[in-house]
Subunit: 394 residues, 2 copies
């Protein structure tokens, strides 16, 4: 069962500590496996990826990883060849400390863009790594905290599948846009499962989880989702494994949307009755990304006309407004707006406003009689988002 | 010369008044020509256009108009066939009052979506139209005020071309997204110029003015740009006319961006050095619409990494970061960030912050050595946008 708590996975060590990149909060963390792991990863589609993404893609070539090293407070993006060399140097130092091959280390960095890593601090931080790593819950939590930037909450999840355990840890709150992996997330498992199975599986899982969330339409240059499998628990049913991994990824994705910068509400939106899967997804993204929909939900304003506007922004497909229905709430008592019914005095505005005051909002838009549906998650847009982002670098 | 003031155009009458659709501010206005005019219009690309847009497209079929009737506070959108009938009824009442054909009346409505027009009030408001119309500056200003919703300033402009005058009036502050006409704008002129010339000319003019602004990526269901030419001043050089009309449209478009909901700054962004015009425009839109860029500019935060991120969101084209340059400010003293230069200590962050504190910001992004460039306008994203839109219907 998928639960929002730490289950230790045999054969993996963790650390999280402060090395003073920006302030005194945790800013440096790592995962170390006792043995080389089968591994798979999905990275940002941003055409200006960070140096760690470039190095990570290269190190994942053979489907093998043994360690992950992450710093927050500086993304090492737009730092050119020197940034790539910095990432390689860190991998090499970690490898030396841990007695492994540098190509088995996946580097990640997250934080401000356009500044070189403070390499003197990084080098110093690597000096005691061997002692920093440990296998307790405290070590796992330290890692989870060390990768946070504007996150306000730990994002972790675990599950059992067959005789094996999977643990997933993520960060992300801003620069979040669906249709690609948009944050950092790490999964480790002791299930025995090959990289050649893991890579397409992770692609499918990411596509219906992290690729379906949005905070602000901005696509990070550092997005990375990685899974490491050390095989200690022996083989598992890959179908069952994928189902559990998918549940875990959806959980973490929703946690990221819920913790969107400044957000007060998680929005789950289903668009159904679409002519094609593309129409369903384009419409869902248009609505979940609309600033006017997001602010209306923030204000619990039952301004359903803004949904109509956002649906109509998908120029590629036409919708017959006579068939359009919008449902607010979950379960049997959900409230319906039938855009095809003329008497608008019957719209239950007060009750819709009540639904919108909850901190988890369920909305379904039925476009027509088509057979396709898509689900996405997002959050409201508040003054907090603006305030947080108007003064972030300095 | 294009000036931000009223020049009266012979042969046109105006009114603006309050009829109590929502409150006591001006909410009903009109333009009436002494004779049928050659006319052209461009309407929203939103697939759920308002009833007035449907009726307006139909009435413009023959390139002839004699009157425009506009109400604010209610958009008459998502009101189905009854909404269309309401718009037709208003056109018929205006026509009866003014002694013209109902098909020569272009209706517009702007305001909340999803409510029927209060037809008893509208009918009553039409009863005295004949006396309401007048030809003074006060009448023009009344019209300009009556079409405002969340606008904080009048948006009007006029110019002389040859022996003729052109006057343009616009409204718009929210639900503004480039790549289509996104607001209401009316131009009238006494130049003699045929509808068959006016229609393609207006398309070109809109494409480089109203189609290049963005407030919030949301595309209104009511967008309308119309021009009426009564021919009283005789023929003019169409090339000179188009140049002046284009200047006027750019002026009004910038006024709309500057007056974006909650905005404190107008942003003018040029993207040059692109491989294609599409790359230039996609990149310009990605940057001008990025919430993280918009909030950074609001906070005068020289966080140029966010520009890199937003440039990299255009997945269709790759950019060589070694060739990427970003200029802040206008004129010879503008500040450059050369993303290809490694020594980041030379980036003049303090001076860039100073530029970003101005209320009109000029930015140029040079992508590479390509020959294509595009210019767009937008505004910053502030707490004011959120506050204004979290509580708009009620």
């Amino acid at each position: 069962m998928t639960e929002a708590r730490i289950r230790l996975v045999p054969g993996f060590s963790w650390f999280g500590k402060n090395i003073g990149i920006k302030d005194s909060t945790l800013d440096f963390g790592g995962i170390l496996a006792d043995v080389p792991c089968q591994a798979a990863g999905v990275f940002t589609r941003n055409t200006m990826p960070g140096a760690p993404v470039l190095v990570g893609r290269e190190h994942l070539r053979n489907g093998l990883l043994q360690a992950v090293i992450v710093n927050s407070k500086n993304a090492n993006v737009a730092t050119e060849q020197r940034g790539v060399e910095d990432s390689r140097t860190i991998c090499r130092l970690v490898a030396e400390q841990c007695g492994i091959d540098a190509e088995l280390v996946l580097p990640s960095s997250t934080g401000v863009i356009g500044r070189r890593l403070p390499m003197d601090i990084m080098v110093e931080g690597c000096r005691t790594l061997k002692q920093d790593f440990g296998k307790t819950e405290r070590h796992v939590e330290g890692f989870a905290r060390s990768i946070m930037t504007t996150d306000t909450r730990l994002k972790l999840v675990s599950a059992r599948v067959g005789g094996a355990t999977i643990l997933g840890i993520a960060k992300g709150a801003g620069m979040i846009e669906p249709n690609m992996a948009t944050m950092l997330a790490y999964f480790v498992t002791d299930a025995k499962i090959s990289a050649s199975l893991l890579q397409p599986m992770l692609g499918r899982v990411v596509n219906t989880s992290f690729n379906r969330i949005s905070v602000d339409t901005d696509t990070s240059t550092s997005d990375t989702v990685v899974i490491l499998s050390n095989g200690l628990a022996g083989p598992v049913d890959p179908v069952a494994f994928e189902a559990v991994l998918s549940d875990m990824a959806v959980y973490l994705a929703k946690e990221i949307a819920r913790d969107g910068e400044g957000a007060t509400k998680l929005i789950e939106l289903v668009v159904s009755g679409a002519q094609t899967a593309e129409q369903a997804l384009l419409t869902a993204k248009s609505v979940i990304n609309s600033p006017l929909v997001k602010t209306a939900i923030y204000g619990a304003d039952p301004n359903w006309g803004r949904f109509v506007m956002a649906i109509g922004k998908v120029f590629q497909y036409s919708v017959n407004i006579a068939e359009l229905k919008i449902f607010f709430g979950a379960g049997e008592n959900r409230l319906m707006i039938d855009a095809g019914v003329l008497d608008r005095d019957e719209v239950p505005l007060e009750q819709i406003s009540g639904e919108l005051r909850k901190n988890e909002i369920h909305i379904e838009i039925v476009l027509g009689k088509g057979l396709h549906a898509e689900k996405v998650w997002g959050c409201d847009l508040t003054e907090g988002y603006v305030a947080e982002n108007a003064h972030y670098t300095t």
